[in-house]
């Protein structure tokens, strides 16, 4: 049995997201959930299990396999005064709804000269690592983060999984929440009483002085493990959890680099033209002279994600890769 301090609760990531949605729906009649298999099935990843029974089919709506239609309907419902949470089963399927997200949700406020904001929240699972092969393993957070008009958040911790949602729902503009599928079973401590957290800043998850490991989402814990390993090798690594990819907290990145003078960016997306490229460009623009060594990137190999376990593992960023990159630039 785990000993828990009285002001902490142990919760899984999955339970945290569910609790966040339940609370939002209990407190605000305008909030409802829709998506494929969110009701009777309980959610592809079990996130909404029990919610149909609690809230009924009006507010926990199973949709057809029509990503464009139900994402678009979420956008329309948001324009019509509701506060929809649209669950797209995975980022892979969100490509079928790109028109609605990019051409409608992201543009409406601007095209209408400020008249029509779109308070929709779109949640989707992302990432690889479970041998589900190329069409179910994309990490396209960086694609979405390219688009002005939407906000992109990547909760990695239990607290963020629990408390980013109310902030996203209160936001007047479209927010996409990426939940790394590998995180749903993770457990962690949730401070009590908690409360909504911001969706605009990065957080230092571990303080260090020799190198900054910059990451987000599913790669954060690989970075944390790498930092543990580096500590045994006498290297003090700082870990920065970006949390939000748009708007990107560039100040936090620069602040950390200014202290450690070295950076490794860990991103499960591909390296080319990706999120990691943006981060490195920001460092080059604002903190080039702070660097004592070249920046390193640990990203997914430039291949579709293979099925075979050993091949998939080789394609994805792994702890030893992060450790090796950090050791190289600190000169060990």
């Amino acid at each position: 049995m785990t000993t828990v301090k009285p002001d902490l609760r142990i919760l899984t990531y999955r339970e945290s997201v569910r609790e966040a949605m339940r609370q939002a729906m209990q407190e605000d009649e305008r909030v409802f959930l829709m998506g494929e298999d969110v009701g009777r099935y309980g959610g592809c990843y079990g996130v909404s299990k029990g919610m149909l029974e609690e809230f009924g089919p009006e507010r926990v709506r199973d949709t057809p396999l029509s990503e464009a239609a139900f994402v678009g309907a979420g956008i329309g419902a948001a324009l019509g005064g509701m506060r929809p949470i649209v669950e797209v089963m995975t980022v892979n399927f969100s490509l079928l709804a790109l028109d609605q997200i990019v051409n409608t949700a992201a543009l409406y406020l601007h095209m209408s000269g400020g008249q029509f904001n779109v308070p929709v929240v779109i949640r989707m699972a992302t990432g690889a690592g479970r041998q589900v092969a190329a069409q179910h393993s994309h990490s396209l957070e960086g694609w979405y983060a390219h688009i002005p008009g939407i906000k992109v958040v990547t909760p990695a911790t239990i607290e963020d999984a629990r408390w980013m949602l109310p902030t996203a729902l209160a936001d007047p503009d479209p927010v996409i929440i990426f939940e790394h599928a590998g995180l749903y079973n993770t457990e962690g401590e949730l401070p009590e009483p908690g409360g909504p957290v911001d969706i605009s800043t990065a957080r230092t998850r571990r303080v260090g002085s020799d190198v900054t490991l910059i990451s987000y989402g599913g790669s954060l814990f690989k970075a944390m493990t790498a930092a543990d390993d580096l500590a045994t090798k006498g290297v003090s690594a700082e870990v920065l959890d970006l949390r939000v990819l748009r708007p990107l907290d560039v100040d936090a990145i620069i602040k950390s680099i200014t202290a450690t003078h070295r950076a490794v960016v860990i991103d499960e997306g591909w390296k080319s033209v990706g999120m990691s490229a943006e981060i490195v460009a920001c460092i080059a623009e604002r903190a080039l002279w702070e660097l004592d060594a070249p920046v390193r990137r640990v990203c997914t190999a430039e291949v579709p994600i293979p099925y075979a376990q050993h091949m998939e593992r080789a394609a994805l960023p792994q702890v030893p890769d992060i450790v090796a990159a950090a050791l190289e630039i600190v000169g060990r």
Partner: protein
């Protein structure tokens, strides 16, 4: 039921407003007051005017990039529409949208959507919000027959029918998706059959006859408001002008255009009214003068408009603090 004279005159005037407004737009395009894409609705006026008669304040309208007519018929201020096309800050979208992206919160006019088929899911969502909030509103969404080839069309119709949502689907069948004729893009030419396959009432209507459009819409909207779920109108119409100002019209015969022009609602309705002794030359001249003066006022308003300061460029990407 025979409509009374006032109502017939109202329908005629509404169509004339669109016609004269757009003829002026074409001139203004030639002198480069209006730039970018300009898609004229000329020939299709009976559709927008006929449909709008059954909508009340609070209903929502979602239109296409060929939407000047819908905006005017919905009651969006003509001056603000013209100013928008001039790119002025006084435009209905502050000059950020232009001809293809007219928006107006006060009349619940949701664009101005320039991705074919993209407006349909949005309309489904607006109707879902009305249904969930127990409002008696109807959402009318306009799209061309070309949209019937898009996945979003089929997904949206299915969802609207599945959830029994108050949507009026208004398919403006002008026979050409830009330059591609219906028979060269569809295996099934009867568009109402596509809609009917989603278990919703779907009627083909003469879109050149404003009274036929009005009557069909009235029946559909009454049924929708009574909880009858989505209805689908295929409004058979024709675009007299080119697709946009860049279109040399290589894909259709002049004779075909001329044949359709004989059915011009701004020819046939005045003829009918004259025959019935309801419209004199003086009436028609007066109506033209009145509408022309509204158009010229709109142009003057647009001319007098101002350019948004470049310092405001990055506004309206995200909502501003304190905004509702």
């Amino acid at each position: 039921m025979t409509p009374d004279r006032d109502h017939l005159m109202h329908l005629l005037k509404e169509m004339l407003r669109i016609r004269l407004f757009e003829e002026r737009c074409a001139q203004l395009y030639q002198v480069e007051k209006i730039r970018g894409f300009l898609h004229l609705y000329i020939g299709e006026e009976a559709v927008a005017v006929g449909v709008m008669q059954s909508l009340v304040s609070g209903d929502a309208v979602v239109a296409t990039y060929r939407e000047h007519g819908h905006a005017l018929a919905r009651g969006v201020n003509a001056g603000m529409i013209m100013a928008e096309m001039f790119g002025k800050m006084e435009g209905c979208s502050r000059g950020r949208g232009g001809s293809m992206h007219l928006f107006d919160k006060s009349t619940r006019f949701y664009g101005g959507n320039a991705i074919v088929g993209g407006g349909l899911p949005l309309a489904v969502g607006l109707a879902l919000a009305d249904q969930m909030q127990h409002r008696p509103q109807v959402t009318a969404v306009f799209f061309g027959e070309g949209a019937a080839a898009e996945g979003e069309f089929h997904e949206a119709l299915n969802l609207a029918a599945l959830w029994n949502l108050p949507v009026l689907f208004c398919c403006e069948n002008n026979l050409y998706a830009m330059g591609t004729a219906l028979e060269r893009s569809e295996s099934q030419l009867e568009i109402t059959l596509k809609a009917a396959s989603y278990q919703m009432p779907a009627w083909a209507v003469d879109g050149m006859d404003v009274l036929a459009v009005e009557e069909a819409t009235r029946l559909a909207v009454e049924a929708i408001r009574a909880g009858g779920g989505p209805h689908f109108l295929e409004l058979r119409t024709y675009r007299f002008r080119a697709h946009s100002m860049f279109d040399p019209e290589l894909y259709r015969d002049k004779a075909e255009v001329e044949m359709w022009k004989e059915r011009d609602p701004l020819l046939t309705l005045p003829m009918r009214l004259r025959a019935e002794g309801l419209l004199s030359d003086e009436d028609w001249d007066a109506m033209n003068r009145e509408v022309l003066s509204e158009v010229e006022e709109a142009v003057a308003f647009a001319e007098a408009g101002t350019w948004e300061p470049i310092e405001e460029l990055t506004r309206f990407v995200y909502s501003e603090l304190g905004a509702p």
